[in-house]
Amino acid sequence: MTTILIVDDEYLIADILGYTLEDEGYTVVKATSGAKALDELERHKPSLVITDYMMPLMNGVEFATEIRKRVGDQLPIILMSGAQSHIGRSSPELFAAVFDKPFDTPKLIDKVKKLLERKTLPGRRRHPPR
């Protein structure tokens, strides 16, 4: 099972996105802050992280920097943000993709699929588990 970690202090967004990803066959783990998400990272070893920018305790950039420190640059991170998306776009080393809120869910799912394909099977195409 491929696990995706969603980090957002707004439960509604995390929930809606979580359900959609579960429908696509992924396992979803949610956290409401960067600090909590780092614990989940250790515990569940997700294959991809989707994070908000404006959150308590640490923002999306601080959180992504911490991930890079802990697990290196192989774990793709998607930033979803409103006003601060430009910050994400100027840090391609941290974020594999940046989505403006409110985002187009099918496009986000599509991106998730592509990133996971690239990650798990370089050079070969495979559909994510259903």
């Binding site: 409401t32 006003a83 910050i87």
Partner: protein, 480 residues
Amino acid sequence: MEQLNRVKTGIAGLDLLLKGGLIVGASYIVQGRPGSGKTILANQLAFHHVREGGRVLVGTILSESHERLFLYLSTLSFYDPARVGSEIQFVSAFDTLQNEGLDEVVKLLRREISRHQATVLIVDGLLNARSMAESPLDTKKFIAELQGHAAFAGCTVLFLTSSRLDDGSPEHTMVDGVIELGEELHGSRSVRRIQLRKTRGSAALSGLHEFEITEDGVVVYPRLESLYSHPSRSDKADLTRVTSGISRLDELTGGGLPGSSVSLVMGPSGIGKTSVGISFLGASSRAEPGLLFGFYESPQRFRLKAKALGVDCKALEDSGALHLAWQPTTEGVLDGLGARLLKLIDEKHIKRVMIDSLGALVRIANSPSRLNEFFSALMGELRARGVTVLATWEMRDIFGSEINAPAPELSSMVDNILLMRFVELESELKRLLSILKVRDSLYDPSLVEVVISDHGIDLKKAFENATAVMSGSAATIPNT
């Protein structure tokens, strides 16, 4: 006496009500039903505060997403997305409240205050916190702890709630101030009102004040009579005279209208009240500019009317001697109009004003019971600013002896009263003018006929051989 430091809300009228703004480090409840404008008010304050160099933390305990909020705020002029995420931080504590309880929400917000070095904290969704509290004591503790942490950091707190908390509620007893936003229907018109229900450690303009939500956010109009319960400057009370613009009228009033006085021209529709006003404004000069504060006639129509009386409105306007301010009678707030008039007077250094008509102001008033106080404050303030005023009032009846004053005590509020009536005399309809009152002056009380021509207005002695003139149906006294 010590002055407490203030955080300006950036909402000019609200800062006036608060006598300068919120008190730094104090806590306030902003309450009102959904849609009453709490969130707009709080965010307007937040964006103003960061423009002044402050930092704001918005902690929401609501299920509504921040993006949705930003979407609505983006239609308002104060919203600046570049500030969001930097000087203004939005964090959601809803999940924390639901899964971990009130104590954890306090901890989270406390950490965020210091992390962002916030100088204003806005907590939106106090009702949800209350519903999670096991007892009223828990709610009290929640508020007490939050405001304790905030005050320690010099941070001013606003708690927003959609419930109508009463004065004895635990929430109210804890905070330093309560700002209530309400809405009521007057006929089919909805009127928004704001009230400061509690202001600890500060004087404030009490009572209900009207406000509007415009594209610039919340605009508060303090009740004029509370703002100017004492005129802002002292009345010069000199005995100078200014011309009424009608030479015969100047003679009848003993040398012109008293300076800084208020004259009321009463009469039925079509009698020539506006024409008297045009002559009055025609005497404006660059040294003593005039202002038309009109409701019914558009500037274009007013200019045409003036031209017909031989007054070149356009030339006066071009030279800066005259300004025309027109506003529709279908919208606006009474106190807003009063504030607009006073602002124009200050900006353009106006010395003579024609208000055409007071009836339009009455129409706009939602509470007729306070018209006396409103007019009294407005007139007092105009006098104090050295402005000579001529206001018109339309009487209902074209003929007849009954006179309806705009407010029962208006005649004692104004300095001079001119009454205009139609009179039928020898199968001819004539316009009559009589002076009922002139401040501190003897005047000629005789009834004069108003003759309007392209040279302006002339007043002729007439009706000397007639009786029952004021009734509208005069009769010639037969020669004996």
